[in-house]
């Protein structure tokens, strides 16, 4: 009985850590798309860049704090680079460029030596792990760290979005020509928005790498980007609290269809179960789109008012 309880507690820690990491990841996407209107279908690339940068630097002896900061910075720099097409391209083409970038990056990571190729990297140092705590205590401590950093990123982006700076980002989303006609030089804002969102994703990537304890290219497939989009749309685009709610619901559903939870249903093979998960999430999305198309925390007006 106590074994079952311990298992549940451990499971809860892992559930919350995963969900919180996705909240952080989505906060970055929300700044880019929800606030500024830049369609980024390659968000997972920034997660990967943050993860690989932090881990590789850590492996080469850079202290974890600096390695993590570098993961954020390098992601942000790639955000700047990818923002340049964003200055010229229409939404649909930007979507193609970003998704292409993420796939190219993953293929490169899969095929070069220094990233460990398809085997990836494992056995690297992880924050708070050398305190002599057991794995479970570490899990909770690490969760606290993830929650704290996510709360910080959340609060900072909220501050920016509600400031005059955020007003410019929103105006770019609504009608960038008019924003220019009213005297704003929007170039820097678009680049900064993309870079900040990428940096936040980079932080999520570094933390994800520490949490997994091993990374490989499979962790960074396109589906991760779309999970982030699902969470964002579920919660309500442009609302950061929506990301929290969306992540909890998404992972709640994911867990509810997990092997342990479904064991009572009968002998379902693992691969079928995986397929069933996707079905369940699809059904959830369809239901949501019917009854609450603006997302759970979205404002109804948001929909009718898109140009």
């Amino acid at each position: 009985m106590s074994g079952l309880l311990a298992g549940l507690v451990a499971y809860l820690a892992s559930f919350l850590t995963n969900a919180t990491l996705y909240v952080l990841f989505v906060v970055g996407l929300n700044l880019q798309y929800g606030t500024t209107g830049l369609v980024n279908f390659g968000h997972v690339a920034f997660l990967a860049i943050g993860a690989y940068t932090a881990v590789l630097l850590g492996v080469h002896g850079v202290p974890i704090l600096f390695a993590t900061a570098a993961g954020v910075a390098v992601s942000a720099v790639f955000g700047v680079l990818l923002a340049f097409p964003a200055l010229r391209l229409r939404d649909d083409y930007l979507a193609i460029v970003t998704i292409g970038f993420a796939e190219v990056l993953r293929t490169v990571v899969n095929n070069v030596q220094f990233t460990g190729g398809p085997q990836g990297i494992y056995g690297y140092a992880v924050p708070l792990r050398d305190l002599g705590l057991g794995y479970q205590a570490w899990q909770w401590l690490f969760l606290a760290l993830v929650v704290a950093l996510t709360a910080l990123a959340f609060a900072l982006t909220e501050y920016v979005v509600r400031s005059p700076y955020g007003r410019v980002l929103k105006a770019i989303r609504e009608d960038q020509e008019v924003a220019v006609a009213l005297g704003k030089n929007i170039v820097g804002y678009k680049v900064a928005s993309f870079a900040l969102g990428a940096g936040v994703a980079g932080l999520a990537g570094a933390l994800l790498a520490y949490y997994y304890g091993a990374i490989n290219p499979h962790n960074f497939e396109a589906i991760v980007t779309f999970e982030a989009w699902i969470i964002m749309v579920l919660g309500g685009t442009g609302r950061n609290w929506g990301a929290v709610l969306g992540a909890l619901i998404y992972f709640g559903l994911y867990s509810a269809t997990a092997r342990y939870a479904m064991s009572g249903v009968g002998a379902i093979a693992a691969d079928r179960l995986a397929a069933l998960r996707i079905v369940a999430i699809g059904v959830l999305l369809v239901v949501l789109m019917i009854y609450r198309p603006q997302g759970i925390l979205g404002r109804k007006e948001d929909l009718g008012l898109e140009r």
Binding site: Y159, P164, V168, K170, A181, N185, E301, E306
Partner: protein, 291 residues
């Protein structure tokens, strides 16, 4: 540019806006074909002409939305063509659009506050290092926005999304938003298009009142009666060129203008006695087709 300065007469010096031989080619087609015009401080200048005359293109050239093929644009004595498109508004030259373009998913108040110039809170460094200065400035911007909301009777919709406003309210919001930039010259692109008679009078009242306060206007308008009532001077365009310029009545009766609207045959039919009304009717019909 210095040579140009020497040549310019005193009248030109007083001109707020000077356009010289502006030309815009789209492929081989000259949408604007050598247009020169001046707008002096405190004036209301009407810009008329049939569809396709190049009026809106000229607006886009003046506001640097489109690059000139050749020619020059001076605003307050400074040559601005070739400069970035956000510059005109910062110098005091702002435009509104033929079809209103409000920021739909921002509140009416946000629409206005956005347009205020020189906001420290638009810089991340200031946000991080001088939050008190940002807040103080934000308060002043909000006060100014509230003032304009009162002036334009939009207080009731202050916190609504701009996308929920009626067509008339959008026109007012767009004008208020343009005023937030603290302009010297406003370019209004068909402010009366698709507007009911009551609101037309209201808009007219605002334009005249703002002029009394020192504002200068260049107005594209299809409603000829309206343009005759508000303009000090009218410039008529057709096929990318200025075909007539002067006091409203003179321009209205200029055979070249009547020709442009009705075709050469139209003049024979309508002209000798009173070319005004038929032209006016043609304009109104066109305006509807446009809207």
């Amino acid at each position: 540019m210095s040579a140009e300065g020497k040549e310019s007469s005193e009248a030109e010096e007083r001109a707020l806006l000077r356009v010289r031989e502006a030309r815009k080619l789209f492929g081989g087609f000259a949408a604007v074909d050598g247009v020169s015009l001046d707008v002096r401080e405190g004036e209301i200048v009407g810009l008329i002409g049939p569809n396709g005359a190049g009026k809106t293109t000229l607006f886009s050239l003046i506001t640097l939305f489109l690059p000139l093929t050749s020619g020059a644009v001076y605003f307050r004595g400074q040559r601005i063509d070739g400069r970035p498109p956000y510059l005109p508004a910062r110098l005091g030259l702002v435009r509104t659009f033929q079809i209103t373009r409000v920021f739909a998913r921002m509140t009416v108040l946000e629409n206005l506050m956005f347009a205020a110039p020189g906001q420290p809170g638009e810089s991340l460094a200031e946000l991080a290092l001088a939050p008190r200065r940002v807040r103080a400035h934000e308060r002043r911007v909000r006060e100014r926005a509230d003032e304009l909301l009162r002036y334009f009777n939009l207080e009731r919709v202050r916190d609504q999304y701009a996308g929920t406003l009626s067509g008339g309210q959008r026109k007012l919001l767009e004008m208020a938003r343009a005023l937030m930039t603290e302009p010297k010259l406003m370019l209004l692109d068909e402010p009366m298009a698709g507007v009911n008679p009551t609101l037309k009078e209201e808009l007219l009242g605002y334009v005249l009142d703002l002029r009394r306060q020192g504002m200068t206007f260049l107005v594209i308008e299809h409603d000829l009666d309206m343009i005759m009532r508000i303009s000090d001077r009218v410039v008529a365009m057709a096929e990318g060129r200025v075909i007539s310029e002067g006091p409203p009545e003179a321009v209205r009766q200029d055979p070249a203008v009547v020709d442009a609207y009705l075709g050469p045959g139209g003049q024979a039919r309508a002209a000798p006695v009173d070319p005004g009304p038929p032209a006016g009717r043609a304009l109104r019909e066109e305006g509807r087709a446009h809207g």
